[in-house]
């Protein structure tokens, strides 16, 4: 055995789980896929005194959508079920790019979208995807529910807007828009490793092929996912031009402050962030149906 002792409670309903969290607060952690929490407990970096297992709460798992409406993903939905849901991948194509980069098949069989986003690892792919897609995070406590934009949800290193009595229950992604292309790319040392830098881009064009919206988010280069959409402001209203992207690249490189790690210096991270931004925007443009 490796973890320090704790009390284990399998929640029998969402209300039960929320009541337990209200009672135990910061001393308690929800156990979802366990793919970040259990390693942290094995290292004794995390020593919760109560574990509230939410794996039995089927109501928290699954994807719901109706024509033209937002796509609602339950927090307990595992990577594996998203990967094998072809309609979801068509509606949210950034996931088709990003999911294969997350760990390995064995870990994707257990890990959940809600656990990933609540954990808020700065190098993880999904916070950047959620920020780029302007996801809405639905949060509940025993007292009621609220909704937070992804860009406000991630507050710092492993820190989110979730309070000690709350649970992330659902993530809502906007319905697919016309003339929109997306792309996620990353550089990691090996397949399945956390990204040294990653970029998610969403490009929407008008009927004349001019860029009407460009969302850009990065992972691995800050304390949390970085919303870099303002770096692309100069492209809005403009037709596709590869030279214009160069400006965006230098803006992106100027606005990030990568921490560096044993595998990559801050300068190298800044360099690859720029290269990836250039490639991801170009690919997203061409997937939106325009030159690139």
């Amino acid at each position: 055995m490796k973890p320090a002792p704790f009390k284990y409670i399998a929640a029998s309903s969402l209300d039960h789980a929320l009541a337990l969290k209200a009672e135990h607060g910061d001393e308690a952690r929800f156990l979802a896929g366990g793919q970040s929490l259990i390693p942290a407990m094995n290292f004794r970096l995390a020593r919760p005194s109560v574990l509230i297992d939410i794996n039995g709460l089927g109501e928290l798992a699954g994807v719901e959508r109706s024509e033209g409406a937002e796509i609602r993903v339950g927090a307990l939905t595992r990577y594996r079920s998203l990967e094998s849901d072809s309609r979801f991948l068509t509606d949210c194509p950034l996931f088709a790019d990003a999911l294969p980069h997350i760990a390995h098949p064995q870990i994707r069989n257990r890990g959940t979208i809600g656990g990933n986003l609540s954990h808020a690892d700065p190098a993880s792919e999904l916070p950047a995807v959620a920020v780029a897609m302007q996801a809405r995070m639905r949060i509940k406590s025993a007292k009621g529910g609220r909704e937070v934009a992804a860009s406000e949800f991630f507050q710092g290193l492993l820190t989110t807007d979730i309070r000690s009595d709350e649970m992330l229950v659902e993530i809502a992604f906007p319905a697919p828009r016309a003339r929109t292309g997306t792309c996620f790319m990353e550089v990691a040392r090996r397949r399945g490793d956390f990204a040294l830098a990653g970029v998610a881009a969403v490009v929407t064009t008008d009927a004349k092929g001019r860029c009407s919206q460009l969302r850009l988010a990065l992972c691995g280069v800050g304390e949390t996912a970085v919303d870099a959409s303002t770096a692309a402001a100069s492209l809005i209203g403009q037709p596709w031009a590869s030279e214009a992207i160069e400006t965006v690249v230098s803006e992106v490189q100027a606005m990030i402050d990568p921490p560096g790690n044993v595998h990559a210096s801050p300068d190298y991270q800044r360099h690859i962030a720029g290269v990836l931004a250039q490639r991801a925007i170009t690919a997203a443009y061409s997937r939106a149906g325009h030159a690139g």
């Binding site: 259990i38 094995n42 064995q106 257990r110």
Partner: protein, 162 residues
């Protein structure tokens, strides 16, 4: 803190076990120490190496990243269940033997469990798909080439089986 125990019942390789486990016992340790099924190896105990891979309701998972109490009511498969009762090796085991897919053997149980599940879903994989499927299992000895050869051969045997 008082030791807290839970009664669990689970099936491993078709045999039902009932035990009382402490909350913090990892599934990997439960298999090895309580059930004395030591074929499941532990390397890193934080999800990286893949030595502890077993099947939970048919899907490969890290047994070092699950608590034994969480396995209550589930069906597990471990390397001990792969060979037939008469000792006949599973095609994936036979192919590893034939192609020299192991040296020290530490990683082998995890590779066998990962790949039996993979080949069940995809018995006509490309070499690239085999390498992708193997990406979550570290081997310090073989350099993987012979493991890849073994898996492509095993796929062929599985396809040819009636």
């Amino acid at each position: 803190m008082q030791v807290e125990r839970h009664d669990i019942e689970l099936s491993v390789n078709g045999t039902i076990y009932r035990r009382a486990v402490e909350s913090r016992i990892l599934l990997s340790d439960f298999l090895r120490h309580d059930l004395e099924l030591a074929g499941t190896h532990v390397g890193c105990e934080h999800g990286v190496c893949g030595a502890c891979t077993i099947l939970l309701d048919g899907a490969p998972i890290r047994s070092c990243l699950m608590l034994a109490v969480q396995a209550n009511g589930h069906e597990l498969s471990t390397v001990e269940g792969l060979a037939g009762r008469d000792g006949e090796l599973h095609p994936v085991q036979q192919a590893m033997h034939d192609h020299h897919g192991l040296q020290c053997g530490y990683c082998t149980p995890g590779i066998l469990m990962t790949m039996t599940a993979f080949l069940k879903q995809n018995s006509e994989p490309s070499e690239h798909e085999v390498r992708e499927a193997l990406s979550g299992n570290l081997c310090r000895c073989t350099g993987y080439q012979n493991v890849v050869d073994a898996m492509l051969a095993a796929a062929q045997t599985i396809r040819a089986a009636p």
